[in-house]
């Protein structure tokens, strides 16, 4: 994959960062409006997918190395789980919203959902990286031919 024409590359240059930003926005406001970890994560992944499409796989891997992606992938899920487990510390329940009391902000403000925004962020990381990996691997299958080991990872979120 060598990438596309200069037009696409340039537009990608202009927009990728903005798409990422928008994804971050969707994630951050997931608890206030439509969106959330999954939708935002998909948008985040779109930024990287756009780069992959426009510039080719190699450049995309320079921006986001595969090892980093798969580690972040696991990290996202673990962070989500850790958030849930922290709720159990001190006799609470699984998924107890342990931040809600201490960090109760004002309604409709960003910092008020307790652990929910944090969980959204974790999910977003997970989804973004998973989607990127899935896309990347699928797009590279034809490229590398038979010997490339497919990474059969299934992605589960929510």
């Amino acid at each position: 994959m060598t990438g596309m024409t200069v037009i696409v590359k340039t537009v990608t240059r202009w927009t990728a960062a903005l798409i990422f930003l928008y994804g971050a926005y969707v994630v951050a406001y997931g608890h206030l409006g439509p969106g959330g970890g999954f939708a935002g994560g998909v948008i985040l992944a779109c930024a990287y997918i756009l780069i992959t499409l426009a510039y080719g796989g190699e450049h995309a891997l320079r921006v986001l190395p595969r090892a980093v992606a798969s580690r972040l992938d696991s990290f996202g899920a673990l962070a989500f789980l850790a958030l849930a487990l922290v709720g159990m510390v001190g006799g609470g329940l699984f998924f107890t919203n342990w931040l809600q009391q201490k960090w109760a902000g004002k309604a409709f403000h960003v910092f008020n959902g307790g652990i929910i925004p944090l969980a959204n962020v974790a999910i977003a990381i997970k989804v973004c990286m998973s989607l990127f990996l899935v896309f990347f691997i699928l797009s590279s299958v034809r490229m590398f031919g038979k010997d490339e080991q497919i990474d059969f990872r299934s992605k589960e979120v929510d």
Binding site: S74, L81, A84, I150, R153, S154, D158
Partner: protein, 512 residues
């Protein structure tokens, strides 16, 4: 010691889920560490599930756990994600963890043949998480979600070897599984549309109030068909004989041993008994499906020359026994079915592990290429014999007792024809397992296997563990133990819709 179930219950899902994401981080280099970690995880699950089983006994009845203590009641409907631990769930939990422990123990050397071990363990753990969630959840939609988690990881695990057979099997499995999931989801949607509840207890309550109509009947049939695919009941079984043999042996053991039960049979019986409530027609449908599976699986297993494929067909047949017995709806029938389910988990995983051991050393699965291997692989041969005898219902192994109970239950319920079928198929079972013994382990040793050795120690250990369980499980029928393990599971089903609803709803208050 009073065990606080409320504290540790979610760990049954959290541990495998967490490990499922930690293990892939270990990468390619730290494979031994991945082995150790995976084994530790499954061992801790075994401990956990046994603690839960015992703790549930101490606490009496069931335990209901609300995720995060979050629960709102609006318009008479309870929203929130809950876990329900009753006798049946506890039994299934123990089974899943025991079999998965044996499988991970076996995997540590068996998976030397494959690359990407940490990913393998990751998927494995996800599958366990899915199954544990599936047996614990008290809500239809989460049932679907966990079921899919387990199913998706199993699709990937079936294809793990990336050879053409494995890919083909996995693809077929995936397509059928997907069709099944859409059926399940559609029926859940139908149920929600009609009754406005997803919580199983509440759904059952409303269904009892409003009565079963065409729509809920459609939903039920779709559920039955969808979960029938997952449980591999004839005629929804066709993926199983492809998928189970193609997976790596420990995975086959998991798939046949617990997966089809946790996400198939368990879900079916939970829905039938605790949501819809058993009716004679429903019982009849289950019995017919079960008998059909029993016969078709048994007869087809006779014709197989591939060790693992034979075992796969025999799984269909044995699942048929389970469903037949549970479909009877009598206390004895349910007890017999659950007992057989537990036994089948143990001996079928044992058999798949031994087949894996044979494949590990000889590289073949074809029975006619083997012969006389008992001389060279004594432990494998013995354990396989134990497994075969158990599944064929030879005393004093556990399969005998469950088969005895099933036949008695069938006759006692006046279902003579089904009892006769069960008897005949049990003979057929014996016949094809003796074929395995004859072709693989006895007879003359072929020259090309002269150099074959016994498998490594950890693999032996896991097989011996299961073989010992095969003998020991027979003791579960002793009243003292039966009251502790099997009867609560039986009661969880036999109490029906009302009982389940009472159990869950009375515990509503104590949850949050």
């Amino acid at each position: 010691m009073k065990i606080d179930i409320q504290t540790i219950l979610p760990l049954a899902i959290a541990i495998p889920l967490g490990m499922g994401f930690i293990l892939p981080l270990l990468g390619k280099k730290l494979t031994r560490l991945a082995d150790v970690a995976a084994n530790l995880a499954t061992a801790s699950l075994v401990c956990l599930s046994i603690i839960l089983l015992v703790g549930r006994l101490q606490g009496g009845g069931a335990e209901v756990y609300w995720m995060g203590g979050w629960r709102i009641t609006a318009g008479g409907t309870v929203f929130g994600i809950n876990l329900v631990l009753d006798g049946l769930s506890a039994l299934m939990l123990v089974l899943v963890s025991v079999v998965s422990f044996a499988s991970t123990l076996f995997s540590s050397r068996y998976m030397d043949q494959y690359t990407g071990r940490s990913k393998y363990y990751g998927l494995f753990m996800l599958m366990i998480a899915g199954m544990n969630g599936c047996v614990l959840t008290g809500d239809m939609f989460n049932l679907f979600v966990f079921l899919e988690i387990a199913a998706v990881s199993s699709y990937a695990l079936v294809a793990f070897g990336c050879e053409s057979d494995e890919l083909e099997a996995s693809f077929k499995y995936l397509i059928l599984g997907c069709v099944a999931s859409s059926f399940i989801l559609l029926s859940i949607a139908l149920l929600y549309a009609q009754f406005g509840a997803l919580n199983m207890a509440q759904l059952g309550e409303r269904m009892a109030e409003l009565g079963v109509n065409k729509g809920s009947l459609l939903a039920l049939m779709m559920l039955l068909a969808g979960l029938g695919v997952k449980a591999a009941l004839v005629p929804f079984h066709a993926w199983l004989p492809d998928a189970h043999p193609s997976a790596p042996a420990p995975i086959s053991a998991m798939l046949s041993g617990v997966l089809i039960k946790a996400i198939g049979v368990y879900a079916i019986i939970r829905v039938v008994f605790n949501v819809y409530g058993w009716t004679p027609e429903l019982g009849m449908a289950l019995m017919v499906l079960g008998t059909l599976s029993m016969i078709v699986g048994g007869v087809l297993a006779m014709r197989q020359g591939d060790f693992k494929r034979l075992l796969a067909y025999s799984s269909i047949s044995q699942i048929g026994y389970v469903v037949l017995a549970i479909g009877l709806g009598t206390p004895l029938g349910i007890l017999a079915g659950l007992f057989h389910l537990a036994n089948h988990a143990i001996f079928k995983s044992l058999l798949f592990l031994t087949s894996g051991a044979v494949q590990y050393r000889t590289g073949t699965r074809q029975l006619d290429e083997m012969g006389g291997l008992a001389q060279k692989m004594p432990i494998t041969g013995r354990t396989c014999l134990v497994g075969s005898m158990s599944i064929a219902g030879i005393p004093p192994f556990n399969g005998f007792f469950s088969k005895l109970l099933i036949i008695i239950a069938c006759v006692a319920a006046g279902r003579w024809g089904f009892a006769l079928c069960a008897v005949i198929i049990s003979i057929v079972t014996l016949a094809y397992f003796l074929k395995v013994q004859k072709n693989a382990f006895y007879g003359k040793l072929k020259d090309k296997w002269a150099q074959v050795r016994e498998v490594p120690l950890t693999m032996q250990c896991s097989m011996v563990l299961l073989a010992v369980l095969c003998v020991a499980m027979g003791l579960l029928l002793v009243p003292g133990l039966r009251e502790a393990v099997l009867e609560p599971a039986r009661d969880a089903l036999y109490q029906g819709v009302k009982g389940y609803q009472e159990v869950v709803m009375t515990l509503l208050g104590s949850g949050g």
